[in-house]
Symmetry: C2
């Protein structure tokens, strides 16, 4: 049994969902998973910050007003965002990083991770930026400091893609992958197949709440590109940067293209993929592709995501699940913490038993 | 780095495939996975047995004549099957059990597992029998003896279903599952949709080599039932026996049923499923079901298998992959050994570091 102190960096939808899980499930986690979480720090650009060495009540935290400086209403709260101070000074075992993704620099998230590791704290994050742009450096630093770094939620929210490939499929020799890694663009293509125009389909996705006000990163493939970089580096051992991945989106797809495919029983999908050749060289791309109906990704519709891994020993294995959602992404953070817990138990509980 | 001594009980297609993997990949495993395998015992009802404390060369073992008593041609070989003696006396760390499944008694496989544990040896198996009929007892005995017991290959060959659900989705609160868990019956239904009669479709599956000479267990749902019992007990915490699972196969499906579904864009599938209610009671069944085309299992065709897990926190997650195959099932054994290796490393290498 353990209690982990956590500091939440960013208090948007995902970290608020995590706090609601803590409120609802903490006692159950203690019984079923062997730990509970205690929130000792929060920082958010808009809401301000909080340091509470003994822990703040999850229910109280969820009740604050979602207005500028709203965290100041709690004991230990302050109207200014002081992320670095919270990371350094609140007595957290784990920093839960869920701030926005800057696709060019991945800052300030990279600095948050570095600062956490330097302070001897583990990091779990749902942020694609630091994982896509600085995973090698950050993994190395975490190892040097003997802390954990987990980021399942950077790809397909809580659907266990990275952990499936690296752990459950270890030794199967993964040689490549193809994925539907962005729900908005997949939804838009699916609706265009049914006769909507591009603009109508985007507007519908926005109404349903899963397309951004500016859907450019989704429909141009840039969001997928970051995820392809993460999976290629993590699973195929590549060292790609986003610019190494050729990238086109769905803007070139015409109603006639879609109609022609459907009339042949085929489907257009925006696919992010990477492949390792015999010399170990990894090439990767994001591209709209016409798939035969027998392809495991052809039937993935709506906002669902999926990745097919090609392997030497096991053929193709596909995992399909939610690619977004606040609770689903908060679950990714929980799954990361479970991994940290198991790694720690391997260290401390079993000891030198053999 | 480690060397694991293994004894192979049963030397049919799956364990022979494992030996070919050992021949081809042992050096690579040492580098990438941190261990190699050394074969110190073999026993097979037909081929005889072998005890070789220093290890038998994989290539030599693959060259024996596949005839009665064929193992006698090797040093330490003998024309008689002596499984219990091999399990007890060959100095194996791990017993690799891949004998036939007796769906009524699961013997002699259960006795092989018990004997291995009593002798202080871990077991990996692809055999549904002992896992479906005696998992609780065997897990308890393995724990008492401080050895491992892994059986990923009992469901969907090497496709990581059990490990995905138990490890990668820990904490997501799995409340039920639905699966296409038998390739032969799924293939037959798919071909009947295309106009073949039941008998024609079965004959075709037999020609292609994945239906048994007697396909009763496949088309009556009995093979699926054992897998449903395994998943329900393992993942939903049930304590079901096969007779607790209502079971019907595809024999009642008529061409008219299939045609009617297809004309409505729907598909008939033989589904194994289980569900946990709010009181924790688990009900399970095997039954042909008519699925809407949007259902994640509707598009699973041919001999491919798939399971959809329903969860509280993550919605539905589906894993799709091979459900059979010699290499694919041998990979399941490798993945089990990787798990044993990691568990052992947690014990011995990290020590009491914190």
């Amino acid at each position: 049994m353990a209690v982990y102190n956590v500091s939440l960096i960013g208090f948007g939808g995902v970290n608020r969902a995590l706090v609601s899980l803590i409120r609802n499930y903490n006692d159950e986690w203690m019984k079923k998973l062997g730990f509970r979480l205690n929130i000792v720090g929060v920082s958010d650009l808009h809401l301000g910050s909080l340091i509470s060495p003994n822990g703040v009540d999850a229910e109280e935290l969820l009740k604050i007003k979602m207005e500028k400086g709203g965290l100041a209403s709690l004991d230990g709260g302050c109207p200014d965002p002081r992320s670095m101070e919270v990371i350094r000074q609140a007595p957290a075992d784990i920093i839960v990083e869920a701030t926005f993704t800057d696709p060019k620099t991945a800052e300030p998230a990279i600095s948050y991770c570095r600062t956490a590791f330097e302070a001897g704290r583990s990091v779990v994050t749902t942020n694609k930026g630091p994982v896509a742009l600085a995973a090698r450096e950050l993994i190395k630093l975490a190892q040097q400091k003997n802390v954990g770094f987990e980021y399942e939620g950077a790809v397909m929210s809580g659907t266990p893609v990275i952990r499936l490939a690296k752990k459950s499929m270890a030794g199967a020799d993964i040689t490549g992958f193809q994925g539907i890694l962005n729900g908005t663009s997949n939804y838009v293509v699916g609706r265009m197949e049914m006769g909507l125009s591009f603009n109508e389909a985007v507007a519908e996705a926005q109404e349903k709440g899963f397309a951004e006000a500016n859907p450019a990163a989704d429909v141009e493939g840039l969001d997928i590109r970051l995820k392809v970089v993460i999976l290629a580096n993590e699973i195929l051992g590549a060292n790609l940067k986003p610019d190494d991945v050729s990238c086109s989106g769905i803007l070139g797809l015409t109603p006639a293209d879609l109609e022609d495919a459907v009339s042949h029983g085929e489907r257009w999908k925006l696919i992010g993929s990477a492949e390792k050749d015999e010399d170990g060289f990894v090439s990767a791309q994001v591209k709209a592709s016409r798939l035969p109906s027998s392809h495991p990704l052809a039937s993935i519709s709506g906002a669902t995501n999926a990745v097919t891994f090609s392997t030497e020993l096991l053929g193709d294995v596909t995992v399909t699940g939610p690619g977004a959602g606040r609770i689903e992404t908060a679950y990714a953070l929980l799954s990361d913490i479970i991994t940290l817990h198991h790694d720690r138990c391997s260290f401390t509980e079993k000891g030198d038993a053999e």
